[in-house]
Amino acid sequence: MWTALLIVHGLLAVLLLGAVTHQALAALWPTRDGATMISRFRRVSAPVYTNTVVIIFVITFIIGAVIYPAYRLNVRTYLQDYRMFWAEGAFEIKEHLAAMGLFLLPLYWYLWRRPVTAAAHETERAQRIAQGALAGLIAVAAWTSFFVGHILNNIRGLFGT
């Protein structure tokens, strides 16, 4: 069961990466040009990803929390036995960024589901920056978690024993 959950966790993470990276790039590096693949990637309508990001993040987080005790009992002790402290530290970073990403979701959802309609120009600009920054921070948390999880999952094959 743990293996199946781990695979689902990884697949959902891939979906999350796609959604939040599209949104973050479209918000932080927008363009109207659609000549290249990169510019088409940046030209997407950023708000449409909001609900998808929130739902997938929460489900991925919950599955991660469910399989975490199995990691703590079986994998972390292995890392400690083989003095792979960097891997242990990388997982600590993953858990911290994932938790903080979860804490950002309500504000992220609140800001992204509202169009920028503020009367004051400074507030409008601040809202656009906040939308992009929150998407960017959640993307950083998702990418970091994905890489660390992937490396730890393959650590015996990658680094041997």
Binding site: Y68, L73, M100, L107, Y110
Partner: protein, 115 residues
């Protein structure tokens, strides 16, 4: 249409929640302020931070719970005492403080990479 307009109360509450929960998480992980402890080998929970009994003790769930609880309280308090702050201040605080908290949390992990 009115529910799609940025409202000060929602912005204040969720910005304060983001700020307080992220900052509190850094303190929780450094000072072990876990709301509860999970013992995975025993499949048992204890209130507050407790030492390992049989097998390892897990505090991350407790740190997360502490931070969410603190964030909700912080959001409610902000509605009472700091609602007068300009909206743009909340918009900046809501992402900049968590960004710093993320960096600090990563900084505290450096010893793992220098052992």
């Amino acid at each position: 249409m009115s529910d799609t307009i940025l409202r000060p109360a929602g912005l204040v509450f969720w910005s304060a929640f983001a700020v307080v929960s992220c900052v509190l998480y850094v303190f929780a992980m450094e000072m072990n302020l876990a709301a509860f402890t999970y013992h995975p080998r025993l499949v048992e929970f204890d209130l507050g931070p407790q030492p390992a009994r049989s097998g390892p003790a897990m505090y991350w769930f407790g740190w997360t719970a502490t931070s969410i609880g603190g964030g909700l309280v912080g959001g409610a308090l902000a509605l009472v005492v700091a609602r007068g702050l300009a909206m743009r201040v909340w918009l900046w605080l809501g992402w900049s403080v968590p960004a710093v908290a993320m960096i600090v949390a990563c900084y505290f992990m450096i010893p793992f990479f220098t052992k």
